[in-house]
Amino acid sequence: MDIETKNIEEKELVIGIKDLYKSFGNNHVLRGINLDVFRQDNVVVLGRSGTGKSVLIKVISGLLKPDRGTVNVLGQEVATLNEKELQELRLHIGFSFQGSALYDSMTVRENLAFPLVRNKRNLTKQEIQSEIESVLDDVGLLQTINQMPSELSGGQRKRIGIARTLILRPQIMLYDEPTSGLDPITSEEINALINLVKDKFNTTSIIITHDLTCAKSTGDKIAMMFNGEFIKQGTFDEVFSSDDERIQNFYKYNFIN
């Protein structure tokens, strides 16, 4: 047994996806996905728009039901869970949406308090307040606490979106296009934040992106998706040293530092 295989066996499997299929009518989005994500790994799912990347993490979080195949998260088969079990599992999953999905009618403070108040009912107002301030401090946006989402910039909204998921201390983070629509400097800040979240909160992450810079700076492992299936998995260098024309074309048309 070589060292790498031994290391993988020692690591705990957090997300296990086997033979996953998902279609919307005649549009076959996922076509036999297999993926293993181990504890504290950052796995980047890379691919062009419309290849089914976002659908994959929606299936993992139970927002969508798979047509076929199994999705095992923290030892539980997501598709077979009832509503209560799914809610309990979701306490361990943080989902950062592409458009941040902040609640428009609430301030930043209320956005962050929302999941906390509903899921940790034994907390006092003071404890909630200190949790909010601590998480906002982690993402470097404590000064925005009383602002409305409409008053924030794109990058700030992404950070607040991440802070809102972190407030429940999830074991798994799912990032949907964390750097899309951001300038290169702000993107780099978000990449640094993703790495900080991994180190500070010990999270296991799946990062959906088509941004090679983001993939390179955040990913321990890259899974290259094409037309609803993974065509290559491995480290960044392993994936992009492949001769596969589809991967080379993807690389060629992306700007990379």
């Binding site: 306490l91 458009g99 999941p115 899921n119």
Partner: protein
């Protein structure tokens, strides 16, 4: 005659869509009764929505109710005067307002104002993934968004209906007082002479049903909004159209049922 396969498929698809929509709409509405009694109870959100639905509709309802009462009395006067029966005007107006106009006008106004607001608000939350965000943060969005809004419309629209009735009666009184110099007490004594418990009770039941309809239709359309901002507009629009249509159907049914109790 030659059959047109494309057209046939289109009709079949439309029929399929209709029945699928009907089924999912009924399921959505039935879920309310399952969720409403289950904790946690979102009292703060319910009170906020009652304020949005009730208090913020008062201006429009006051204006519409007052004008309805005034105009209805003004229009009825010549016909009754022709038979020398203008003294019956307060009773006639009261029956019309309490049995039909107050619940119906309130429902139609709220269907436009509140229904479209709920449809647009939830529709925009749906297309910007805020509802999904709520769901993945282990909060039941149906409970938080739908139950609170439907409860608010079901509670507030009967109250608004009572208010509309009162304001419409004041509008009617103004016209009667202007022409016959009738005092307020006499007007209301004459008005309520012909009003029975069944009239008031059926109007209350009607407005509870209308309130539930407006809330549930707005939420259903909002929850099922698709295609970005265009979808939000469509959700708001179809909330109004569908809830008005259902209100008309419910009006016919409830009037038939109530009339069967009268005979």
């Amino acid at each position: 005659m030659n059959s047109i396969p494309g057209e046939k498929i289109l009709i079949t698809k439309k029929l399929d869509d209709f029945f699928i929509g009907l089924y999912s709409g009924c399921q959505f509405a039935l879920r309310f009764f399952k969720e409403v009694f289950k904790p946690p109870y979102e009292f703060k959100e319910i009170i906020k929505q009652c304020y949005e639905v009730g208090y913020k509709s008062l201006g429009l309802i006051t204006l519409t109710g007052f004008i309805t009462g005034l105009v209805f009395t003004k229009q009825s006067r010549p016909s009754l005067s022709e038979f020398g029966a203008s003294s019956w005007l307060p009773s006639l107006v009261a029956i019309a307002i309490i049995r039909a106009l107050a619940p119906f006008v309130t429902a139609l106004i709220c269907s436009g104002k509140v229904g479209s607001q709920i449809g647009a608000e939830l529709g925009s939350m749906k297309v910007t993934e805020q509802i999904d965000a709520m769901e993945v943060s282990a909060t039941n969005p149906y409970k938080y968004l739908v139950v609170s809004r439907v409860l608010a419309t079901t509670i507030m629209i009967p109250l608004l209906m009572c208010y509309t009735g009162g304001v419409a009666m004041l509008g009617a009184f103004l016209n009667v007082h202007q022409n016959e110099m009738t005092s307020l007490i006499t007007f209301f004594q004459q008005a309520f002479e012909k009003i029975s418990f069944l009239d008031i009770f059926s109007s209350l039941i009607k407005s509870i049903v209308y309130g539930f309809t407006i809330g549930i239709v707005g939420c259903y359309k909002g929850f099922n909004a698709t295609n970005g901002t265009e979808g939000v507009g469509k959700a708001a629009n179809s909330s109004v159209v569908l809830s008005m249509f259902l209100i008309f159907v419910e009006e016919i049914l409830i009037v038939q049922i109530t009339n069967s109790f009268r005979t």
